[in-house]
């Protein structure tokens, strides 16, 4: 047994997208941090799709960046194609997505980690979490003498790795992704590995259970990768990137990333594909009942699509490059856990893939994770002080969801050590807030994926204003510099000033003005108007109005963009702001930690049990828990009020 003992501030378990953000955040805040991974070569690995962003996920990346995270900067360095999705729809749902060069992405992120002060990378499987009490019973050989746990108040104090080495610390962030007790299924062939054949982490689950943490089993999957030389692209439709590339990071100069892009390709499944799948369903581990884990519905395997949407004659298949220096192509839309022979037959029915050669088979992966209702919104475990978790381990899916949680878990691990208030974003200020609130307070039975429809105030939570929303929070936490904050404040002021100016510049019904309007197919003025009112008209935009606006100041494109959105959609934005105001009132009603729900007889039993287990910190959170009715909330409000008065009268 190793007798190495080290003392650090924070241990991060796992170096995927969540772990990297968590570790960087802690180290950047000056805390000595170690990040553990089963393989240093798999840092920031993208074991599934070769892209970052997409609808609502692009928003998450922007928010991560605004708070001082790394994902946006890293994809800006390593993308090979970029596209703003939903450009024909409203600004709230514009979403950036970039194809990544996977190995470059991984390499660049590793470089950042390697060069970060206060951060150490350590290859090794963490097998045990150690509490304060455990350390009190530590023996010379790093083993722990048997003892009976006396305290309910469990506080994390370190981790032990497979070699026996112990790292004492004040906070641990678990970011184990899909590696915990994982197994991969490809038809009848089952391997007990993590994604991509990597070593699984098989010991930590037991240690977690010993601490009273409940685990569950989720499943996800990935399609095959094919040799580019075996694909006939002439039978597919080419998918180009945008002409003008928009960066993810607010710190990236757009000019610096305009470059030649690599195309993706679109093809379709057909009746032959579906026939093969149907004929072999009995050999699919899911349909044969071998897989116990719950899979995501938004990312169904091709088997699922064919079974559940039997009337669809074809499904889209996107062929996407995995990088510049590889011939591997990702077959988007056709993830599967069917056996190898069926996979090959099925893929070969798709136009362009008739002679395809599979480099890596599609597979499903099952893993241990938690129901995140065991966490506070700070992502700290309710049962174990100092233990935080983020990413797929929390029951989410997707690189971006993972990175967002990793960042928050890392920040809050740091905050707890520094004795500061945790960073808790709410539903009205960010997608990250929606993501964590949903994970922590809503029941979910499948891996959770971000969607714009989950954000009730999405008109306000645009990807274009993530910096305006969150830079200041990032600054308060300590991950954003004063210069970066100053820039955002300057921008805010410029936007406000320009909006006011446009409202104050009156436009009379002069002949020139009427002619201008007529020439733009806009109705002529009956009474005087102003520039803001004209900008509201769908057929007019800021640039066109230059003609009527000789005094216009010189403003940056991003300021003009914000001004246009604020004015054009003012009515809708105001309505959402009013909703937010209402939402905030319940959020501001705190529920004291010492509340005893058994003391409130009028609560329905179900509500009482739910409230006891979720332990919401404010009334707003309580109201979102399934099984807590509006009447229960009324009862709770009355009780809290009663308690407040009883307290102030000193007769509690």
């Amino acid at each position: 047994m190793s007798r190495i003992r080290e003392k650090v501030d924070v241990c991060v378990i796992g170096a995927g997208h969540a772990g990297c953000e968590a570790a960087l955040a802690c180290a950047r805040l000056g805390l000595e941090t170690v990040i553990f991974t089963v393989s240093v070569d798999s840092i920031a690995l993208m074991p599934c799709n070769p892209n970052v962003g997409g609808s609502s996920k692009g928003h998450l990346v922007r928010e991560i960046d605004a708070l001082g995270g790394e994902m946006g900067k890293n994809i800006d360095k390593t993308f090979i194609q970029s596209k703003m999705l939903n450009i024909s729809k409203g600004p709230a749902v514009h979403s950036l997505r970039a194809q990544a060069d996977k190995s470059e992405y991984s390499r660049e992120m590793r470089k950042v980690l390697e060069n970060q002060d206060h951060l150490t990378i350590k290859q090794g499987e963490v097998v045990e979490l150690l509490t304060v009490e455990d350390l009190e019973h530590l023996q010379d050989d790093n083993s722990i003498a048997e003892y009976e746990r006396v305290s309910d108040n469990i506080q994390i104090a370190g981790v032990k790795i497979f070699t026996g080495a112990i790292y004492e610390c004040a906070a641990v962030v678990i970011c184990t992704g899909t590696y915990l007790n994982s197994r991969c299924l490809c038809g009848e062939s089952i391997t007990y590995t993590g994604p991509n054949g990597l070593q699984a982490a098989t010991h930590l689950s037991h240690s977690l259970e010993k601490l009273g943490i409940e685990l569950r089993r989720f499943k996800t999957g990935t399609p095959a990768r094919m040799d580019k030389r075996s694909i006939d692209f002439s039978k597919m439709v080419e998918q180009f990137g945008d002409e003008r590339i928009v960066p993810f990071s607010f710190s990236t100069d757009p000019e610096s990333i305009q470059k030649e892009q690599i195309s993706c390709w679109l093809t379709y499944t057909n009746e032959d594909t579906h026939t093969i799948i149907r004929a072999n369903l009995d050999r699919s581990p899911i349909y044969a009942g071998i897989i116990e884990g719950t899979g995501p519905r938004y990312c169904p395997s091709i088997e699922d699509k064919v079974v559940k949407f039997a009337d669809k004659e074809r499904h889209q298949v996107f062929i996407e490059p995995e990088g510049i220096h590889t011939n591997e192509m990702y077959v988007g839309g056709m993830s599967s856990s069917l056996p190898e022979d069926v996979q090959l037959a099925m893929y070969r029915t798709v136009p362009g893939l008739e002679h395809c050669k599979i480099v890596r088979n599609a597979y499903a992966i099952e893993y241990d994770c938690i129901d995140a209702n065991q966490l506070f919104p700070s992502l700290e475990f309710k049962k174990v002080k100092g233990l935080f978790s983020g990413g797929q381990f929390n029951g989410s899916s997707g690189y971006e969801e993972a990175a967002a949680q990793g960042l928050i878990a890392g920040i809050n691990a740091a905050m707890s050590i520094l004795g500061k208030e945790p960073l808790i974003l709410d539903r009205s200020e960010s997608y990250i807030g929606v993501l964590i609130d949903d994970l922590v307070f809503k029941e979910s039975r499948e891996p959770y994926r971000m969607m714009t429809s989950r954000a009730e105030y999405r008109l306000l939570l645009r990807q274009d204003n993530a910096d305006l929303r969150l830079r200041e929070k990032g600054y308060q936490v300590g991950l954003i510099s004063k210069e970066e904050l100053d820039y955002v404040n300057y921008k805010k002021e410029a936007i406000q000033k320009e909006i006011e100016r446009l409202k104050s510049v009156s436009i009379g019904a002069s002949k020139t003005n009427q002619e201008f309007l007529e020439s733009h197919n806009s109705s002529t003025l009956k009474t005087g108007s102003n520039l803001a009112e004209l900008l509201c008209r769908p057929e007019l935009d800021y640039e066109m109005l230059a003609q009527l606006d000789p005094e216009r100041p010189v403003l940056s494109e991003e300021v003009i963009n914000q001004v246009s959105i604020e004015i054009k959609y003012e009515g809708y934005i105001e309505r959402q702001l009013r909703q937010v105001e209402q939402y905030k009132k319940n959020e501001s009603k705190k529920i004291p930690d010492s509340i005893d729900y058994d003391d409130i007889p009028s609560l329905r039993l179900e509500a009482r049990q739910k409230l006891k287990s979720y332990r919401p910190v404010n009334v707003g959170q309580a109201s979102r828990i399934a099984g807590v009715s509006p009447a229960d909330i009324s009862v709770l409000l009355v009780y809290l009020e009663h308690r407040r008065h009883a307290k102030s009268n000193g007769d509690d």
């Binding site: 729809k89 714009t452 429809s453 989950r454 809708y572 007889p601 399934a626 009780y639 009663h642 008065h645």
Partner: protein, 464 residues
């Protein structure tokens, strides 16, 4: 929404046709709301009145006169709720009272929840320990009861219509959202025309629902129960017995009840609007004739008919005309005067009028001394909770709260239409579509929860 932002209103007195009724309005906009509809003879506005004073004036609804009223003004915190409060004392009468409440609601107040005035009094600091518990229990109890009653009552056509509109709205939203989430998979290029057609049809349906709440007949909450029968069959004593007090004039002289009398009775938590009608018979007396005609009219509009038969005398022509009047209705037949010698038996009636009496429920009663009343109550209760009793052929919104929710849905749908006409991008449409969906759900007591996400995943094949 936080309670302190919402001004609430409700009828504070028992709803019946006698005396004075009070509509209480409480909250930060109480004065400004009532001020908009109140006119004092001297032209003073409500805002100028001292606290704890009462004033004479009129209620107007967009220029048209409604009623002569007395208005009491209580300024915060010196009121029951400790908020600004106005009490409108009007001339009783169900229709007028409801009308005024409706106007107050249209001007921005929200119908108070059961026990809400007390709850506010409590939340605003009238602290009393025993009261706190009472309030919590009340919230709980009233909520359970009204939830159960509204669910059962709504199992009829109304909920069917609402459910189907909701399902369609949800499907549209799910499609739009799928396309937003997975734009390379779902194409919206021709969808806005389709959606416009859909929205127009939703508006039409919801508008109809909204209008149906306005035709006055069903303005009260509850089931319209009409008591019919020949003169002196015992209708008035039945009403008295149900209402628990001398309400109708009961005499031995046939034809005493010359008009219709309404009474709202709470029977096991079910609200019944009982209308006692003048005995139906051919009459020469002009005053009585008007009463008889009204009775016929009421009988046609009733949800439930209680047909009181004097079982001590055989059927005659008048009975036959009553039967023809109520042929297609839900009917409970009371074979009254069971204390006397019985001339009419259910078996004989079923033989004589097989189509009519086949589905009737027969109860033997003596309304004079209360015999059989329990059985009648049980029977009504059973019919209600089994969903047998619902509104007439047409769909009526019987509940003001529901009407308000339907009104909100209508507003949201009109906003969707406006957005469509303005060519707004699709993601703007779903905001108001979802609001309409939520409001309609409120009418039938359904929360939104994860409906949308479920719908997206079950109806649309998403993801790569």
């Amino acid at each position: 929404m936080h309670y302190s932002d919402i001004t609430i209103a409700a009828i504070a007195t028992a709803l019946n046709n006698s005396g004075i009724s009070i509509i209480r309005v409480s909250g930060k906009d109480a004065f400004s709301i009532v001020n908009e509809i109140f006119r004092a003879p001297g032209g003073k506005t409500l805002l100028e009145f001292e606290s704890h004073t009462i004033h004479y004036g009129y209620i107007y609804d967009s220029g048209s006169y409604i009623d002569e009223v007395m208005v009491s003004v209580f300024k915060a915190p010196k009121s029951y709720t400790m908020e600004d409060t106005v009490e409108i004392n009007c001339h009783g009468g169900i229709v007028i009272t409801n009308k005024i409440l409706q106007i107050v609601l249209e001007h921005g107040a929200v119908l108070a929840e059961p026990g809400e005035f007390t709850k506010r009094a409590f939340l605003n600091g009238r602290i009393d320990l025993s009261k706190a518990e009472a309030v919590m229990d009340m919230i709980h109890a009233k909520n359970e009861l009204s939830a159960k009653a509204s669910m059962t009552h709504l199992r009829g056509k109304l909920s069917e219509i609402i459910r189907s509109v909701r399902a369609e709205i949800l499907h549209d939203v799910a499609y739009l959202e799928s396309a937003i989430d997975d734009p390379e998979h779902f194409d919206l290029s021709d969808f806005s025309d389709t959606l416009k057609d859909h929205v127009v049809s939703y508006i039409e349906t919801v508008q109809k629902l909204y209008n149906s709440a306005d035709n006055g007949k069903f303005i009260k909450e509850g089931i319209n129960t009409v008591i019919v029968g020949k003169p002196n069959a015992g209708k008035s004593s039945l009403l008295n017995s149900l209402a628990g007090k001398e309400r109708a004039i009961v005499t031995e002289i046939a034809g005493t009840t010359r008009d219709t009398i309404e009474e709202q009775i709470l029977l096991n938590g079910i609200s019944l609007n009982v209308i006692d009608t003048a005995g139906i018979r051919s009459t020469e007396d002009l005053v009585e004739k008007i009463g008889v005609d009204k009775a016929r009219e009421y009988a046609l509009s009733g949800d439930l008919i209680i047909y009181v038969m004097d079982a001590s005398i055989p059927l005659d022509e008048n009975d036959k005309s009553i039967i023809s009047l109520i042929e297609n209705k839900k009917v409970i037949v009371l074979l009254n005067k069971s204390d006397l010698e019985t001339k009419i038996h259910a078996v004989d009636l079923k033989e004589e009028f097989p189509t009519f009496f086949e589905n009737c429920i027969f109860i033997s009663t003596s309304t004079k001394d209360g015999v059989g009343m329990e059985k009648l109550e049980d029977c009504i209760k059973h019919m209600f909770f089994s969903g047998d009793l619902s509104s007439n052929d047409e769909v009526y919104l019987t509940n003001m709260r529901q009407k308000q929710a339907v009104g909100d849905a209508l507003k949201s749908l009109n906003l969707v239409k406006q957005s469509l006409d303005d060519d707004m991008p699709e993601d703007f449409l779903t905001i108001d579509l979802m609001s309409a969906y939520t409001s309609l759900g409120f009418v039938i007591g359904e929360e939104v929860g994860d409906d949308l996400v479920q719908e997206i995943f079950s109806k649309f094949c998403m993801g790569k």
